[in-house]
Subunit: 195 residues, 2 copies
DNA sequence: CTTTGATTTGAACGAATGTTCATATAAATT
DNA sequence: AATTTATATGAACATTCGTTCAAATCAAAG
């Protein structure tokens, strides 16, 4: 018996997913070859198959992990309170979380069509659970009489689209800090859904 | 001399761009082969090169044409008026236009990274011109004292992201008509930027 | 040091890629 | 009917693709 601990797979394994994430985010899943990923890791293409059964699994693993992490992080931030308090918390959480992980977010939104049907269904279900968090906040606000909700599903999608869009233009070295961006978006979200 | 009029290229030419648009929107530029496009047109792959110098030109032509059409349509709708009137006009125009051309819009937002650097610069400049239309409306509203603008560039991007997001979930056969969707989004946009 | 087995290499596989081109087809002018 | 030329074919090109696998490598256990 040998090589149970201290083997390279502990190191190479994560690096494969890491390289795949960076390359998929930059060039797109279909445009990235297994050989490019291998080169980024510093290994031959054949070695990748010790860590993934195929290329498709790299993509679906990245997506599932992202959605799982997002849902877990969100659950950790959830507190009881008024709808307005919850909405502010959700807004600030969403922006902060997405700014910190622009690569994962980019992949999660751009590469859905490159998922196998079954993988797509699984990832879509996780995404739907996250969206439902916001929708139930908006519904609570409507019951409290503080939010003007015509169709809670549409308002949910509109708010999420607005918030997630921040990843397409925000640069850490840019004019505004993440805190300032958070504040501006929170102002807009609050006004957009308020009565 | 022969074949100046009535030749097949009048028919095949547009069909090539049309097939490319549909397939790029569905599967992504990198995932679509010239042979798939040819099959959709009902022709052999070699014949495509009577209508495009290469695959990249198909993408950049689609994008430029879309941005040109968008800017021209927008120019045709532009009227003098208050900032609020202009914003409503912009909002309704944007949603209506984007709902009618979901394939073009999808490509224009998803395939930017597959453009050659020079093509990217050209398309990005057109997109920027369109965004500037909205930004100047927001600035006018700030001067009039009716809009609360902290950073006009951010508010511009936020509004556009929210509006464009409608293409990701709207289905013509769905629960709501385009008119109803327009109305809901206009309510949200107006409130989001108002003082 | 030898053994053991996890890890990596490097070559090979068939299939698919974008593009080219000589050849064939067919429509419109002469 | 003969000629001309735009259009399309179908085979071929050099690469690259995802994936497999026997053989080499190498670190830890005995």
């Amino acid at each position: 018996m040998a090589r149970t601990a201290g083997s390279h797979s502990d190191i190479t394994g994560p690096r494969v997913l890491d390289a795949a994430m960076r390359l998929f985010a930059r060039h797109g899943y279909a445009a990235v070859s297994m050989r490019q990923i291998a080169k980024e890791v510093g290994v031959q293409a054949g070695a990748l198959y010790n860590y993934t059964p195929d290329k498709q699994s790299l993509l679906s693993d990245l997506m599932r992990r992202h959605m799982d992490d997002l849902l877990a992080a969100r659950a950790a931030h959830r507190h009881p309170g008024t709808a307005l308090e919850k909405l502010e918390e959700f807004t600030r959480f969403h922006i902060r979380y997405h700014l910190d992980r622009s690569d994962e977010v980019f992949i999660a939104y751009m590469e859905l069509r490159n998922l196998t049907p079954e993988n797509f269904i699984a990832v879509e279900a996780l995404r739907r659970r996250y969206e439902n968090e916001l929708e139930s906040i908006l519904r609570q606000g409507a019951e409290e009489g503080v939010f003007a909700i015509t169709d809670s599903r549409i308002e949910t999608m509109a708010v999420i689209a607005m918030l997630t869009g921040v990843t397409t233009w925000y640069r850490a070295e840019g004019r505004l800090s993440a805190d300032e961006v958070e504040g501006i978006y929170w102002d807009m979200v609050r006004k957009a859904v308020s009565v």
